[in-house]
């Protein structure tokens, strides 16, 4: 089961007593603010969770995997996420409970 915006809004409604419309708007706004910051060349640091950073990639040679034809991959900017220490530890604890 994946966590979605609807689930998150529902919990804001339950936990904080916001009405459903307010809860839904806050969830939307949260993700929109993060997108806007990244779009405006800002990294986003959410302590306890992790950091969203931007990386600029230079152009590099690529290939169409189907035809083998060479096509350059243009310079582009990408978003990366580095989980924070606290999140990593919580997730590792989950691994410890799984028999692999």
């Amino acid at each position: 089961m994946a966590l979605t915006k609807a689930d998150m809004a529902e919990r804001l409604f339950d936990e904080l007593g916001l009405n459903k419309r307010e809860a839904k708007e806050l969830v939307e706004l949260f993700f929109e603010e993060v997108r806007e910051a990244l779009e405006n060349s800002q990294h986003v640091k959410l302590s306890g969770f992790g950091n969203f950073a931007l990386r600029d990639k230079t152009q590099r040679p690529g290939r169409n995997p189907k035809t083998g034809e060479e096509i350059p991959i243009c310079a582009r900017r990408v978003v990366t996420f580095r989980p924070g220490q606290k999140l990593k530890q919580r997730v590792e604890a989950y691994a410890g409970s799984q028999q692999q």
């Binding site: 994946a2 307010e22 969770f49 990408v78 590792e92 989950y94």
Partner: protein, 106 residues
């Protein structure tokens, strides 16, 4: 190539931006909401669930298999158990908006 000269938005600034746009809500409520959202997301991953936010991206766990490591002090071989690490895959809208910004800034 991460550009370290880029500025950062911290959690407190994110809360302020949101509170300014939702001026009918108390600042405290916006703060509690952001903390709840991050807690819900951490909790989901900590229990092995994915997070799927259309237009933003998805978070999932990647498994790192067990491997042989060494104690850097003593040089002794130690076996490191497998573990899960959080992984983020940006969604289409986020990818496109961020990539457009590079063209604008040049």
């Amino acid at each position: 190539m991460t550009d370290d000269s880029m500025s950062s938005m911290m959690k407190s600034e994110l809360i302020e931006m949101m509170a300014r746009k939702q001026s009918h809500l108390a600042y405290k409520d916006v703060e509690l909401a952001v903390k709840s959202l991050l807690e819900q997301m951490s909790e989901a991953l900590a229990t092995g669930d994915r997070i799927e936010i259309r237009g933003f991206g998805s978070f999932s766990l990647h498994f790192r298999p067990p491997r042989a490591g060494r104690n850097p002090k003593t040089g002794d071989a130690v076996s490191l158990p497998g573990k899960y690490v959080p992984h983020f895959k940006p969604g289409k809208e986020l990818r496109e908006r961020v990539n457009q910004s590079i063209q604008k800034s040049e």
